[in-house]
């Protein structure tokens, strides 16, 4: 499924993986997360600190409230940290709600809050905003980029959305179809915060162009 994938992330770097559907992006994340042990190779993490992961589906415990879901994975979380995390993600009003009472967008945010609550050394995002409407996805993306800025999170992002990638990533890895390998790594040199909307458009186009160049038949 994957073949000859090798890369290293700097501390605080955000790497995005883009590739055709079913090429093994999720599998790669699962291997890094330690969920898939059927592979040859090596995953090294400098300091084996906490891992935060946002799955494609929120994967919250339906029988625990929002607050309990977050606290469960981060028992040492102080009331203040929790409060500020929830308010940054605009979840204050939903603390006592059960996941079944939340919309998908809200559940996604809770899932993000949970991943951030563990103060991760490495954050894994598996298409975190897929199947949300454009406007909501854009808002969540802004919130996420703000959170990543203040925390200097080393992040691995898997996404189909090139604009999302252009906004959030420091480096973009293009993957080939199965067996996936890294075709090219595109550094996005302008610091994430300093990117204007125009630059984002240019970067999106640039990434799209690269994709077209390396894997022509895969572009819709």
């Amino acid at each position: 499924m994957l073949h000859d994938i090798a890369f290293a992330l700097e501390r605080g770097e955000v790497a995005a993986f883009v590739g055709p559907s079913g090429c093994g992006k999720t599998t790669m994340l699962r291997i890094i997360a330690g969920l898939d042990e059927d592979f040859e190779g090596e995953v090294q993490r400098r300091n084996s600190g906490a891992l935060g992961m946002v799955f494609q589906e929120p994967r919250l415990l339906p029988w625990r409230t929002v607050e309990q879901n977050v606290r469960l994975v981060a028992p040492e979380l102080t009331d203040e940290t929790l409060a500020s995390l929830l308010s940054e993600l605009e979840l204050d009003a939903h603390r006592k709600h059960f996941p079944g009472e939340l919309s998908l967008g809200l559940a996604r945010r809770v899932s993000l809050a949970r991943a951030l609550a563990v103060k991760p050394d490495l954050l894994l995002l598996d298409e975190p905003f897929v199947s949300l409407d454009q406007a909501l996805a854009a808002r969540l993306r802004n919130q996420l980029s703000g959170l990543m800025r203040t925390r200097a999170l080393t992040t691995l992002l898997v996404s189909h959305d090139l604009e999302e990638v252009a906004r959030l990533a420091d480096r973009v890895f293009l993957l080939s179809p199965r067996p996936a390998r890294i075709i090219v790594a595109i550094p996005l040199t302008t610091p994430r915060d300093a990117r204007s909307d125009r630059e984002i458009v240019t970067m999106t186009a640039e990434v799209a162009k690269q994709i077209a160049e390396f894997a022509p038949p895969l572009i819709p």
């Binding site: 969920l35 891992l51 935060g52 589906e57 994967r59 415990l61 994975v73 059960f98 079944g100 009472e101």
Partner: protein, 245 residues
């Protein structure tokens, strides 16, 4: 309301039937109630019911704890399932009476043998139900627990047990009624007290009134437990479901 009417109807049918077949065969509700009151006055009723209840709870608890643990392991591990399944089929098809008689022969007419016999009767049923639950556990939540490094007991308490809860509740529901019926047979065959022993004595005297008095009193007790203990627990455990948007 409908339930109440239905209950009244039951009493009327009982009363008419007793007129028809005669009080020797089927005493009317008022006669049975009189015996219940008389037995309650002497304290006999409470003692016998108390003894039986104690046996019911010990056997029930044993079967639920052991059955849940075994069912969980069998649902999760293929090897345990393959190993345990033939035993389970044997146990499921062994008549309650055979288990009880063998327990008394091997263990003597003792309390331990009696209670164990009841627990073993209930055990396979709990295992089968909980095994279904363990097979239906959501692997995605398991992965979540693993990624976030939840301690095993935390995973058990917050991730696994809530998913098993409906299955455990189902096993407990059917368990309570099954266990008390088997306890009565155990008491009839090999204990010197309890509701089953009383009914056995009444049987030898063909005292139908007393048989019905004890049976009725015990049904009321079990109903009360069901209403006051089992249902509130179920409501609490499923409160996250009811409010779903």
């Amino acid at each position: 309301m409908v339930r109440f009417v239905s209950l009244i109807l039951f009493l009327v049918v009982w009363w008419l039937a007793s007129l028809f077949v005669g009080p020797q065969m089927l005493p009317g509700p008022e006669k049975v109630l009189a015996v219940v009151v008389a037995q309650a006055r002497t304290g006999e009723l409470f003692f016998q019911i108390g003894v039986t209840l104690a046996r019911v709870f010990v056997a029930f608890a044993l079967a639920m704890v052991a059955g849940t643990a075994l069912g969980f392991i069998m649902g999760r591990r293929k090897l345990a399932d393959s190993l345990g399944d033939p035993w389970l089929i044997v146990l499921l098809n062994l008549p309650a009476l055979v288990i009880i008689v063998l327990a008394f022969i091997w263990g003597g007419l003792t309390e331990v043998a009696g209670v164990l016999a009841v627990a073993i009767n209930k055990l396979p049923n709990t295992i089968v139900t909980v095994r279904e639950g363990a097979r239906a556990l959501d692997p995605r939540l398991d992965e979540m627990a693993k990624v976030f490094g939840l301690a095993p007991w935390k995973t058990l308490r917050h991730v696994i047990l809530p998913q098993l809860a409906p299955y455990i509740a189902a096993a407990a529901r059917s368990g309570l009624s099954l266990v008390w019926k088997i306890v009565l047979i155990v008491e009839l065959l090999g204990r010197p007290n309890g509701v089953g022993f009383e009914i056995g004595t009444a049987f030898q005297l063909f005292d139908v009134t007393r048989i019905l008095a004890y049976a009725l009193a015990f049904v009321v007790v079990i109903l009360a437990i069901e209403t006051v203990v089992v249902q509130p627990i179920e409501r609490r455990a499923s409160r996250w479901r009811t409010k779903a948007a």
